[in-house]
Amino acid sequence: MALPPDRIDYLPIIDRPVIKWPNDARVALWISPNIEHYEYLPINEGVRDPWPRTPYPDVQQYTYRDYGNRVGFWRMLEPLDKHGIRCCISLNLAVLEHFPEIAEAMIERDYDFMSHGIYNTRYLYTCTEDEEREFYRDCIDTLRRHTGKQLKGMLGPAITGTVNTPDLMAEAGLIYHTDWFHDDQPTPIKVNNGGKLVSVPYSIELNDSSVLRDNHYSAEYFADICKAQFDQLYEEGAESGRVMCIALHPFLIGQPHRIKYLEDTLDYIMAHDGVWQTTADEIAEYYIANYYDQAVAHAQRLAQ
């Protein structure tokens, strides 16, 4: 669409280049645990209040989330390990500095990492262009220092950004942004500096934070909709490959009354052939190597 912010060309799902995933998989499945730290005494910069319930600290809400790092994370690993899932962690990078056992557990499993900011209580809204440049440098350096890996993508911290975000991400050498929920396939994001940035579909729907915390559904329901999503995309993926993401937060899915529903979900999905269990890093690289140019050209033809 040429409407503001004019970042994404219109490409109807029924009229675009057919995507073939490796080994003719129908669905590229990525699991994205959000490994986060929320500050005890954050700074409220006036746009969004990190702890709106009380003056800081809010011990109830702080510890509810920190439970994820102390307990929930470790429980969440059990069903993931059972299926040998290679996660793509949405990572508050300061976790690597605060909690080395978590860093080690993720590195040991060869997970991929996308930035989810430094802390989940530090938003991008008020960043100047230079501050945001410095932010990407910090994210890239911190990940490399602790894991040896090159940072490739981002889910904005607490899903925040600025109008400059895609341009500055591309300038920093990142190749994917997951704050966009407009599609079941990757799509090019236009940037002002000739870089290739793509959207890899993360999920605001199949997300335990929306489903379990914001909207108060049961974990059984979460499993039901994950399976239903998979069934539909698996059917459609026979024609052209689809992406499915399940977004997790250990303080939610790692609760004792919920964990078995993650296991149920993975048992169901992973029993299918034709699933490419992968990471956003790999999806973005594959799409850029094989479909990015075609998609741009196709959108230009449709616009004429």
Binding site: L3, T162, D224, C226
Partner: protein
């Protein structure tokens, strides 16, 4: 003006008419239920224009967030890129024609979608300028008239003909809206959720009707606001239909559904609406029709 304690409605737009006092309405082929599915193609603007009104709990994304809200903008864009095609396929499979409520920003900026909807025989009705700009009484009469006209002009230009129907973004109206719509050449409006049959509205010289939506089954009302589960939503659709089918034996009923492709068109929701529509169509005694077809028939029956 506050209500006066006298007989009938506290506004001039239509008569008081309880459903039990009306002559029986018959649909074509003695159908018991007329089924109308309205699919809403509305654009969420990146920045809300100054002075524009939005409801505080406007759905999409994780929650209304500060600018720039990539999440809500793109979540709603899903309908235009993916969800609409899934829904049109489901409707086509069941032989149900779609009524598309399309806003001006969509008509102006998505020529592919406009062509696609026309090629598939959809009726396209007015839906304001964008979901970021509701009609409310904050507008002056001149502003509201201009808003309605610009929406009609965009659709006329994009589709080649003027829309017959109207649904305001988020059901937005002032106390002048029915009259202004009628004066602009619109024949029916979907904002009034107070009946299970069409009814005439008193707007002046031109015949003008309400095509009432069943508000509780609106997808935003059910799924986004009341947080009903997908399975429960399917059950509400089929059980509502069954009651209308029973009641429609004596006096025909209307089931008008209001769906956003970005919401019910999501992969994990589509099977539920597919199965609910399948239940309705298999039952028999259903007349699937566009808004205009229903209003035309209704008008022929009451005059």
């Amino acid at each position: 003006m506050p209500a006066q304690r006298t007989f009938g409605m506290d506004h001039p737009h239509h008569e008081w008419s309880p459903i039990i006092t009306r002559p029986a309405l018959r649909w074509p082929n003695d159908a018991r239920v007329a089924l109308c599915v309205v699919l809403v193609l509305e654009h969420m603007e990146w920045q809300v224009p100054e002075g524009a009104f939005q409801v505080a709990n406007l759905s999409g994304g994780s929650a209304p967030r500060a600018f720039p809200d990539y999440a809500r903008l793109s979540h709603r864009e899903y309908g235009h890129r993916v969800g609409i095609f899934r829904l049109l396929d489901v409707l086509e499979k069941h032989g149900i024609p779609a009524t598309i409520a399309m806003d001006a920003l969509t008509a102006d900026n998505y020529p592919y979608l406009v062509r696609h909807c026309l090629d598939r025989g959809c009726e396209i009705i007015g839906h304001g300028v964008s979901v970021s700009r509701m009609i409310t009484s904050n507008m002056s009469e001149a502003e509201e008239r201009e808003y309605i006209q610009s929406s009609i002009d965009s659709l006329t230009k994009a589709t080649g003909s003027a829309p017959q129907g109207w649904s305001g973004p988020e059901y937005g109206e002032s106390d002048r809206t029915p009259r202004l719509l009628a004066e602009a050449g619109i024949r029916y409006v979907c904002d009034w959720a107070n009946d299970e049959q069409p009814f005439p509205m008193t707007t002046g010289d031109n015949p003008f009707f309400a095509l009432p939506l069943l508000y509780e089954l609106d997808d935003v009302a059910s799924l986004a606001q009341r947080k009903v589960t997908v399975a429960d939503y399917q059950r509400r659709l089929t059980e509502s239909f069954d009651v209308l089918h029973k009641d429609g034996a004596a006096n025909g009923r209307l089931l008008a559904l209001n769906w956003r492709p970005w919401l019910v068109g999501q992969p994990f929701r589509i099977a539920a609406v597919d199965q609910a529509l399948g239940h309705m169509m298999e039952r028999g005694g259903v007349w699937p029709a566009t808004g205009s077809q229903i209003i035309e028939w209704y008008q022929s029956q009451i005059t």
